[in-house]
């Protein structure tokens, strides 16, 4: 079965998009990281019924998606991967919170539904922005930016190596899976009797493999600092990028932009 092998290739999608050359890719990783942090902070700061206020913030991922030429579908798929978790958390909101707080087209909408939708929206927006950061910057450069923010070396290393370890784990899993299915052609899935040994095998193998990768790194002078060579200078455009997005997020947080636009339109209508 090629599922795992497929996902190895798909996993590299983010790495590959990170190597594109677009104006967004060319920005300093630090300014992109700070914008993302600001964005996530603003998104999660809204109250649970504030769906309409959240809407202007959709603007940010849309702009980045288009200007960085990142294909939408693969990114959305990855965002959806975390949805079950959030649905699990929010699914009881409509059950417990039945108070009607809005009526749309004569249909009463309970607070539970609104808060559920706002939770989903927040999840999509935050995950999407994080994925966009990886897809426009790349893990190596993000870790470089984190080091600039004085995040301790050990945490940055942990993050980097975990990210790299996923592909090692997947490759070993693919090898084990392929060799199992080739010798058990009539089975669907893997018999529960061998789950234990198989998992153990996978752990040992990935451990050994990770050990060898680490040795190869150490032999080439690796001493705990991940040198990506991207010692770029912060330029004016990086500051402008940061400042304009932060200003936009602050405006969106402070003013109810949809209401504002709505009042202008209705004002004009009158």
């Amino acid at each position: 079965m090629s599922n795992i092998t497929d996902s190895i290739y798909k996993m590299r999608f983010l790495d590959e998009t990170a190597d594109k050359r677009t104006p967004v890719h060319d920005l300093h990783p630090l300014s992109k990281l700070l914008v993302t942090i600001a964005y996530v902070t603003v998104v999660v700061s809204y109250g649970k019924y504030d769906v309409s206020k959240l809407l202007p913030l959709v603007f940010y991922p849309v702009v980045i998606l288009f200007s960085a030429e990142i294909p939408l579908l693969p990114l959305l798929k990855r965002t959806l991967a975390v949805m079950p978790l959030v649905i699990g958390i929010g699914v009881f909101n409509p059950v417990f919170d039945r108070e009607t707080i809005a009526v749309i087209f004569g249909l009463p909408i309970s607070g539970g539904w609104i808060s559920f939708i706002s939770l989903l929206l927040k999840c999509v927006l935050t995950v999407l922005s994080a994925l966009l950061l990886v897809a426009t910057t790349g893990m190596e450069r993000i870790s470089f930016a984190l080091r600039m923010l004085f995040v301790p070396r050990i945490f940055v290393m942990q993050l980097m190596l975990t990210y790299r370890f996923i592909s090692v784990l997947l490759e070993e899993a693919a090898n084990i899976w392929n060799s199992y299915t080739l010798r058990a052609p009539r089975q669907k899935g893997i018999s529960h009797q061998v789950w234990g040994p198989l998992l153990g095998q996978m752990l040992m193998r990935t451990y050994d493999r990770a050990q060898r990768v680490y040795q190869a790194m150490v032999l080439r002078g690796f001493n705990g600092e991940y040198n990506t060579g991207s010692a770029k200078q912060l330029l004016l455009k990086d500051f402008l990028y940061l400042a304009s997005w932060v200003a936009f997020f602050a405006a969106a947080r402070h003013y109810n932009i949809p209401l504002f636009i709505g009042s202008i339109l209705t004002g004009v209508g009158k």
Binding site: D19, L219, R220, T228
Partner: protein, 253 residues
């Protein structure tokens, strides 16, 4: 280039599970020599290479590289002088592009970015894969991966090249290309391999390892043509030294 001598002095290594892998190896590798290390599976070839670069530290005995003993303290210096290319290039290539991977070593030694670029491009040109520099390593073919792994080692400008199984899993053409490449290197070379024809072609000395000991240390032609020795050590006379399978006539040398 200064003179590089590797001394193995009464070297012993036992794995933590109690399995002895190297049992008293002593020899001297001289500057500019090209040495083939051969032996059956599990004879201790790879362990010996791991000991040389300090991934493993000997249970007894010592290794000296240009008079510097291999100890935990000296490892950074030793590793800058010795470049080890792994048996499986997949273990060695972990960055997202070939360029970054080859640059990994020089960057760790804090070279400036223009100097890194110079070294990377030179290494890539040497192995003939400069056109692959922006490709992802996992998408390369076996031969290309091997070349990239060697370039990654060359970019560190080592004095001594240590290569574990360079021709394993290569097709004949890639193998030939690699052989020509290795022939062109003036470094001191240590090549652990089962490819005895490779040893015959590019090495000027052969060390046969058997059960963690040196069974023979001689010129490749003398060693590899010794049928009794080969048989004893789980090896076989290389194809190029065997009689013609069609007419039975002996090889021309």
């Amino acid at each position: 280039m200064s003179h590089h001598i590797i001394d193995f002095n009464e070297l012993y290594y036992t794995y933590p599970d109690g399995k002895p892998a190297v049992n008293g190896v002593s020899c001297r590798i001289r500057h500019g020599e090209s040495v083939g290390i051969v032996g059956a599976n599990g004879a201790g070839k790879s362990t010996l290479l791991m000991l040389l670069v300090g991934i493993l530290l000997p249970t007894k005995g010592e290794i000296r590289v240009s008079e510097i003993p291999v100890t935990k303290k000296t490892l950074p210096v030793i590793r800058q002088r010795i470049g080890l290319a792994f048996q499986n290039p997949d273990d060695q290539l972990f960055m997202t592009t070939v360029y970054d991977d080859v640059a990994f070593g020089p960057r760790n030694y804090r070279l400036t970015e223009p100097e890194v670029e110079k070294r990377v491009m030179r290494a890539l040109e040497t192995v003939g894969i400069e056109h692959l520099k922006d490709r992802a390593p996992y998408k390369l073919s076996g031969g290309e991966k091997r070349a990239a792994a060697i370039a990654a080692v060359l970019s560190m400008d080592p004095d001594i090249l240590v290569i574990d199984e360079p021709t394993a899993a290569l097709d004949p053409k890639s193998r030939r290309r690699l052989l020509n490449l290795l022939k062109g290197f003036t470094h001191t070379k240590l090549i652990a391999t089962h490819d005895l024809d490779l040893v015959l072609e590019i090495c000027d000395r052969t060390i046969v390892i058997k059960e963690g000991r040196i069974a023979s240390d001689n010129s490749p032609l003398k060693t590899l043509a010794d049928a009794a020795l080969m048989e004893q050590c789980g090896l076989e006379i290389p194809l190029t030294l065997q009689n013609c399978p069609v007419c039975g006539s002996p090889p021309r040398r």
